[in-house]
Amino acid sequence: MTTSANYLKQISNLVPADEDIAQNRADFRKHKMLTVALVGPPGAGKTALFEATARQLKGTARVTIITVNPAAERDADRVSRYCDQVRAIKTAAPDARAVRSALQQLHLAGIDILFMEALGGIHGPQISGDRHGAGCQRR
């Protein structure tokens, strides 16, 4: 590795978000959970889709959801009867730290499928470090 690449690596390690990103990914890997992000504009039916999905999966998969939006608690209440664990993040666009704190409150070994429901503004890089994350810019 060249000196400059090394230097860049060291610098990026100092950014707290990267630490959260790495830990989130490590958790996903360690517990072998399938992680699925449900994204789309408001009113697209993400919560209803999740409800229908979780209802069907009951008994065949332990499902957990992290709901992300300014009224996340309301959505969390709505879906709580269909899944094992629910966490709400009250923000429009989650960053890796918010997901990190949600993961820390969950019993990770008890998750087969982790859904995250978020508005379109969810960016891959903020969650796990992928540089080609999803955006939701209108064209």
Partner: protein, 109 residues
């Protein structure tokens, strides 16, 4: 590079209009699945299904497109089968169990 969320699923509703896929190009490009939700509304609103599907295919030819009605609890079979495949890919020891309701839908439509 380890995966982020393994799958990104974009949800767009019939009520959003048949041009929605073309509006959210970046999102659709980054998705493996597009779910057209509120599918039952196609009977009640003007929605050019061909145009919508054409846009999806043009923007992301690899994306799977599932039409689902959570209200009528229909169209879920293929989506659930897709989830099942992802679980199997993730963990080869996983033994898929066919959800009873999905099986019923398969038989009875």
């Amino acid at each position: 590079m380890a995966p982020r969320f393994r799958a990104t699923v974009t949800v767009l509703a019939v009520s959003g209009g048949d041009d929605k896929a073309a509006e959210y190009v970046d999102l659709l490009t980054a998705s493996q699945v597009l779910i057209l939700s509120k599918a039952e509304l196609q009977r009640h609103v003007i929605f050019n299904r061909g145009a919508f599907r054409g846009n999806v295919h043009r923007i992301n030819p690899l994306a799977e497109l599932f039409e689902v009605s959570a209200f009528e609890n229909s169209g879920l079979t293929r989506w659930l089968a897709w989830l099942d495949r992802q679980r199997k890919d993730k963990d080869p020891t996983y033994k898929p169990a066919t959800p009873p309701a999905a099986l019923a839908e398969w038989f009875f439509g």
